[in-house]
């Protein structure tokens, strides 16, 4: 009789622990999701801005068809991307294309004096900055969540319910790595 009671108490405590751990994992996962949605708003805004910028720049930059094609392709890839991992990859490519564009723009002083272009570029710059500032918050949340999944004892629960590690969102600084194209014409 007392043996049965002890057994039930132990099972009860175990269930209590499992439920608590599961709930905390879910909460962390939702926080990651929330942090991502903050970035997502800004990424969408960037997708909306790019066509306008390209349209304005096209009139001035007649010989940069390749740059524009790269941007347009990267943008449509980024818009089609499904899960977060794919999106991060596509956004990296888009950032790269935009970085090249910014380097090329330096060769067109007329374009840089265009008021419409300047205000579009201001909007784009602020969007990029907002992405980079909210990225920090997202990465902090991901680190927290991944630690929880890897560490004992929550890793057992995470394995049982198939929690997967989330990806960090890192963007390398494109301007720093690629050597700018120099044109003599």
């Amino acid at each position: 009789m007392s043996g049965l009671l002890i057994f039930f108490v132990i099972v009860g405590i175990l269930i209590f622990f499992i439920v608590g751990m599961y709930n905390s994992l879910i909460r962390l996962k939702n926080q990651v999701k929330n942090a991502w949605s903050q970035i997502d708003v800004q990424l969408k805004r960037r997708h909306d801005l790019i066509p306008n910028l390209v349209e304005t720049a096209k009139g001035y930059m007649k010989h940069e068809r390749e740059t524009f094609e790269n941007i347009t392709r990267a943008r449509s890839h980024a818009m089609k991307a499904g899960n977060i991992g794919e999106k991060i990859k596509a956004e990296k490519a888009l950032s790269g294309a935009m970085g090249m564009f910014n380097v090329v723009v330096e060769n067109y002083p007329d374009l840089k004096a265009n008021q419409n272009f300047l205000s579009l570029q201001e909007e784009l710059t602020t969007t990029e900055n907002k992405i980079s500032f909210s990225r920090q918050g997202y990465n902090d949340q991901v680190l927290f969540f991944n630690n929880k999944i890897q560490m004992f004892p929550s890793n057992i629960i995470a394995g049982m319910f198939h929690f997967k590690e989330e990806e960090f969102f890192e963007i390398e600084d494109v301007n720093k790595k690629e050597v700018p194209k120099v044109k003599f014409s």
Binding site: K44, R45, D48, Q121, E122, E123, T126, F133, Q136, N175
Partner: protein
């Protein structure tokens, strides 16, 4: 970052105990000097009542008083997009619950301040001269510094400290002046009547204290103000991850010699650099509200390894030989590397163009409407301009007035007031999809964009003036 805020709260309690005891002592001694035996407690009572009333005013109306004293005008995205964008970027970096209200002060001297008793009700004001001089990264540094004052709860702290200082100064002044005009006769008469030597000795103590107390509290207040400035610099670099932006902004601000006309002694500690500085006088003294700018710049320029509080601490130690960040802030050990500066989107302008830009900004803030004629001339119309058409002063073409545009600008400037007689058209309805950028198409064919942070319940079309309700 949050440890620092908690440390601030602890210190503010200490500050209140110190300044409050000076105030109580002053009230007691003065009361005792006039009415020996009984007056001491009444003196404390009167001093505390003055303090409470002032604190209430400071707490509830402080920011609106400060903003109206400096004649600041609230602005929206369309008047200065860059300023608005930079503030909303920093809002994300600082993780504030809401974007502070943004004000522009009609001043040529470059300066900025933040106000508001809590982050949800804060405001940032910058002078037009500041916007005119700084590039995007420098502006970001200044805004981050102001945002740090909001984040670290410096404003609340300095408001209460300022009120305490004001009360101490006021009570001492009243006492000393009363003494001067009455020639001390009343007090002597009263003290003779009751207590032969106690009152006289009390009178001397009261005079000494009335002279010393304001000086002591002022020293204390200024020391804290200086420390807050350093801490705000540290937080600012942590937010922007680009110390050079703030450093070169401070350099530009300090090199200007234009006089600031709307600042005074009380509002001075609120600004990013002391608006009352006199050229050629060093500000290293105990009686300055701000730390020497050269030192601030030097510290910022020494932060090449990273931007967390530990990096600021070591840079500070290198320049001054002391520490500044409280130990609770030094737990912040995550290495944050210095960021690349963001692209500068401001126009490269000559001095003459800058002057014109400055004038235009002031006019935009005050509700002027800009029209561009076909010949290229920019015509500036005052807000109460009502004629249906004008002729261009250069090419004599007749230009129709875009009345809807004028009404829209006027209503944007007097935000909060009811829009009168802007449109007789039937209002339209638009259902919002979510917190995203959305484009609304007015029935006249005009497109209106609203941002994710747009909170209003209606917009008016700037072509036909139709009001669109947002649901």
């Amino acid at each position: 970052m949050w440890e620092l805020i908690r440390a601030n709260k602890r210190k503010s309690i200490l500050l209140f105990i110190f300044m409050g005891s000076i105030l109580i002592l002053l009230g007691y001694v003065i009361g005792e000097a006039y009415f020996p035996g009984k007056g001491g407690y009444n003196g404390i009572f009167i001093a505390l009542i003055i303090w409470v009333i002032w604190s209430m005013i400071g707490y509830f109306n402080g920011s609106s008083i400060l903003l109206s004293l400096s004649r600041a005008k609230e602005v929206t995205h369309n008047i200065h997009p860059q300023l608005f964008n930079v503030v909303s970027e920093m809002k994300i970096a600082a993780n504030l619950p809401a974007i502070p209200k943004i004000y522009i002060i009609n001043e040529e001297a470059p300066n900025a301040f933040a106000t508001g008793r809590k982050p949800e009700k804060s405001a940032i004001a910058v002078t037009a001269g500041l916007l005119n001089r700084l590039n995007r990264n420098e502006l970001q540094g200044v805004i981050a510094h102001e945002m740090s004052h909001i984040l670290n709860r410096d404003i609340l702290y300095m408001t209460f400290a300022g009120v305490m200082l004001g009360t101490v100064v006021m009570i001492s002044q009243i006492f000393l002046r009363g003494l001067w005009y009455s020639g001390g006769s009343t007090a002597r008469y009263r003290s003779k009547r009751s207590n032969k030597d106690g009152g006289g000795a009390m009178m001397i103590i009261a005079i000494v204290l009335a002279i010393l107390a304001p000086i002591l509290t002022r020293l204390f207040y200024f020391a804290i103000s200086r420390k807050r400035e350093y801490l705000a610099d540290a937080t600012a670099t942590r937010l922007t991850r680009y110390p050079e932006g703030l450093a070169s902004a401070l350099e530009k601000i300090s090199s200007s010699n234009i006089k600031f006309s709307t600042a005074n002694n009380i509002t001075a500690p609120m600004y990013i650099v002391n608006p009352l500085k006199k050229t050629g006088r060093s500000l290293t003294g105990l009686f300055s509200t701000h730390p020497p700018i050269k030192e601030r710049i030097k510290i910022l320029r020494n932060m090449s390894h990273g931007v967390n509080y530990n990096n600021y601490q070591s840079a500070f130690r290198m320049v001054t030989g002391k520490g500044i960040i409280p130990t609770s802030g030094l737990k912040d050990s995550k290495n944050i590397p210095v960021k690349e500066p963001s692209k500068d989107t401001s126009k490269q302008l000559s001095v003459k163009e800058k002057k014109r830009e400055f004038g235009d900004l002031i006019r935009a803030v005050n509700g002027f409407v800009f029209l561009t004629c076909v010949c290229g001339l920019k015509i500036k119309l005052p807000p109460n301009f009502k004629k249906p058409e004008i002729s261009c002063p250069r090419c004599k073409r007749t230009i129709q007035m875009p009345l809807a545009k004028i009404a829209a600008v006027a209503s944007a400037v007097s935000a909060g007031e009811a829009i009168k007689g802007t449109s007789t058209l039937k209002p339209q309805k638009y259902i919002r999809k979510g917190k995203i950028w959305e484009t609304i198409t007015c029935s006249c064919g005009n497109h209106i964009q609203i941002s994710p942070s747009f909170m209003g319940s209606k917009v008016s079309c700037n072509k036909c003036g139709r009001i669109i309700k947002i649901l």
